[in-house]
Symmetry: D2
Subunit: 141 residues, 4 copies
């Protein structure tokens, strides 16, 4: 079965804009929070990857904004893996509001690159434990 991780997010005043709702770009930050929590559930941490000289930039992001979230309302970001091929991983997300409705959904695609030259590295080869954990999280192991 596919693993998914839920993380509660408390809206920061700073995240609102003058429409009176969360500014749309902040949902990408919330996706980052969800992704980090997901990774940590698998037993990993991004800063440990960085200590090995690698970073994991986003190469593609898609977001649908169904309805706004407001200050004073807690939200939940749910994160899972959509696809993974040893090189690229695509995370899926939905942000669920107070009433249990999906306010925002989306996905982000990531590679792993060397920090000093941004050349791609194979997750399967260079980070075999992440590779195994990804497969397991997708229910393929």
């Amino acid at each position: 079965m596919k693993k998914s991780v839920k993380t509660t997010i408390k809206v920061r005043y700073q995240e609102t804009d003058q429409m009176g709702v969360v500014y749309h770009a902040n949902y990408l930050v919330w996706f980052e929070i969800g992704r980090t929590a997901f990774i940590e559930e698998l037993g990993f941490k991004y800063h440990e990857m960085e200590q090995q000289g690698a970073v994991s930039p986003v190469v593609d992001a898609n977001i649908s904004f169904h309805h706004p979230i407001r200050y004073g309302e807690d939200a939940v970001v749910e994160t899972w893996i959509n696809t993974y091929d040893g090189l690229r991983v695509e995370y899926g997300y939905q942000i669920i509001d107070l009433n249990g409705e999906v306010a925002v959904s989306g996905n982000t695609k990531h590679v792993v690159v060397k920090k000093d030259n941004f050349r791609p590295v194979s997750i399967r080869r260079v980070f075999p434990e992440w590779h195994e954990a990804y497969l397991k999280a997708m229910g393929e192991k």
Copy 2:
């Protein structure tokens, strides 16, 4: 002919992250800057729309990150209209780096809604001058 508007952006230190590049969510802010400049070229301003009780939230965003932009490098965001149907407008963007290469590309879809209840309004009917300007900017008038 399709109108497009180019705006120069100077990377803020605040926009970088510890990868040493611009944090990905900031490109959505740069798209906002490009869109605002485009709108102003058409002779409009978002805050004038807001004074009439309407706001224009993003309903969908897609971004492809081709290569990173770094602090100390100026960038240009180019903005145009992809599609418009009287109700929804989709802007297209590309962010061009120092070397003239496309670093980031994407699009955002917008509606116009009443500020107090987020109910959609027809751009064609309620903002006829924007409607005319959109058609003209797409080269359809």
Copy 3:
């Protein structure tokens, strides 16, 4: 005795800059998080104040940055009231790192104003429950 409230903060990747540490302006956001938690401990919420047509802008802020906080390190923001006179409230903060050392300290002064014209209102007169709670939190009741 003076009340103080501690809130744990997990560094967001977005909050780092290319120095490899948390970008300094974000500590003002963390102060906001501490202040919100403090207020909620007193039984109040900012968005309830806003529903009554009032907001509480910062009029003065002072921050000392003793040493940086890094991604992957949790921090704690501790918040208390320094001074309060019925009209202005000054919060004090310290941000404590993994090793229990104060990384950042500071204070912010706030008034309450009407949302529509930014004219000051007396907290004592218009928000008497906040007034009482502030006095109690300072150990003066």
Copy 4:
């Protein structure tokens, strides 16, 4: 005579909050923009300092918020050097609104440190050209 540099800033929608004004922490970012422009007027760039392995963190910041700035209003940040002693430099700033009034004022104190260990370096000794330019900008040369 003391040198000062003025830079125009166009409010980003992202910088507003639900009070309908610029969120206070963003003024620290505007100070950064003013400081960068000031430095560039002296003929330097922060990223060149970084290429030499040094960064210039803020050690102290003080801000007074006199009245808010709103979306749709351009602002000007004026930057100068308050004090400099070969090791620490304090910049002064004021943010001037549409009507020529000071909306925000403040200062930030900076040191220069080695990027890898955050140990302070003497600006006078390690960056003698910056040292000379600072003195000149203060009207002391």
